[in-house]
Symmetry: C2
Subunit: 266 residues, 2 copies
């Protein structure tokens, strides 16, 4: 990574938090809104998720126009913006739209900034709980209802001691599902349904593995930054960088190696 001065680091950190701060109220304005709940649809028609998604990404882009106008932007809802600074912001205003429309508290705002490759700083923000997982530039902490706590990936000895999360039991293609289940068969406990929040729990040392497929860059760069800062590893199922999206494996080093061996042999 190019050397980034301390003052620039602080500016990027402040910008990341300003982005999540701006997006929070927009996402909450539509979350669990009883007036629009009847229009919640996964396909077609008026979609309140899109309203919240687009509204939140719009305010984040306004923050960037003000604070970091020369940076690029890669967001879920609008076309990419080429920058001139070398830095690109990767934004998912609402990760976990199915979770959001179901009223569960485990969707999140994802913010990351990269310098051409993997992210150098990132956030996973859960507005309803008021939680923010933060990682990069030597920081790795969670702010939430219990105050500020350091994030540190745990690395249990063996898959048989591990807790594994993924979003859907119907993961990816047939081959991807089989590979996932081969790991799942070896762990102590498999749970479902958290979207980005599961990556926060890996960083917090509460769970051990997240395995997913079909992710986009904006789904994964925030989580990568947070988990790497907390001492964990996030790659694709072949052990290669995954900041452009795809099949994702997140864990501490021992379990990452153990799970990778299973995923690669299918």
């Amino acid at each position: 990574m190019t050397q980034i001065s301390k003052s620039l680091q602080e500016e990027l950190i402040a910008t990341a938090h300003a982005l999540a701060d701006a997006a929070r109220p927009v996402t909450l304005a539509h979350f669990r809104d009883p007036k629009i709940k009847a229009d919640n649809k996964l396909q077609g028609g008026f979609d309140p998720v899109t309203v919240a998604d687009r509204g939140a990404e719009t305010v984040m882009r306004e923050v960037l126009a003000r604070l970091r106008p020369d940076d690029g932007i890669l967001g879920e809802e609008f076309p990419p913006v080429e920058g001139t600074s070398g830095f690109t912001w990767v934004l998912d205003p609402i990760d976990g739209t199915r979770s959001y429309i179901s009223g569960t508290p485990t969707w999140g705002i994802l913010v990351a900034v990269n310098h051409g490759a993997g992210p150098v700083y990132g956030l996973i923000d859960q507005p309803y709980i008021g939680e923010r997982f933060c990682g990069g530039f030597g920081q790795a902490y969670l702010d939430g209802p219990l105050g500020r706590r350091a994030l540190a990936v745990r690395d249990v000895r063996d898959l048989s001691d591990a807790v594994l999360f993924t979003t859907f039991p119907e993961i990816g293609t047939k081959a991807e599902g089989a590979a996932f289940r081969a790991v799942s068969a070896r762990v102590k406990l498999t749970r479902y349904g958290l979207d980005c929040y599961a990556y926060g729990l890996v960083a917090a040392g509460q769970i051990d593995l997240v395995i997913e497929s079909g992710l986009n860059a904006f789904d994964v760069q925030g989580p990568i930054a947070v988990i790497e800062a907390a001492g964990g590893i996030v790659t694709d199922w072949n052990g290669a960088p995954v900041h452009d999206g795809g099949q994702v494996l997140a864990a501490g080093s021992k379990l990452h190696a153990a799970a990778l061996a299973i995923l690669q042999t299918g």
Copy 2:
């Protein structure tokens, strides 16, 4: 139901909230505690969940000894207490222990009070978020990060519009799993992993159906009180009362009937 005077209703409501208030800090003292996380085990050995469970139920029993000494108690962790008043408190200090040890914010404290049959008042409390779903004696509301909101079950027209939750995809016996999947195949979206929190989301009109099996009385009486107060129906898979536990179906009336027809024919 026996007539219960307004002043007695108020006393029971205040007691229910006092129980959840007492249990909250005990459950949070062990939640995500990094010092004990390495000892989190689903079977055998020292189990921090048991420490939190037992500690929370102990303080709740102390509250009852002070406020309602003549009532009976049915709790998960200690032997039942016979009362003389006709009222029984049904307590689950931590519903969703796998969720609790995984650090997710969707476990809960369940409190209900019954007068010999189904519950007359109940709470689903999520201490980490600071949310409390409350129902009975004409009340149906949620207190949480967005303030106080009325609870009202929605009742979408058809299963094809419905969101279904259950805790595990590996639900119950083979026959129970098949019956569940027959309903799941008909709905818009099936999600997993929320434990008691899913019943709160039914009451809040955010999701439409919860289907589970193998529940105990203390798992279900709080949810029954909250959902019934919000206009929904909770029965077993044959449409019979389920306050003693078993197979649970929770929904608004139209979807309840539609799902019941599928569950009964397998």
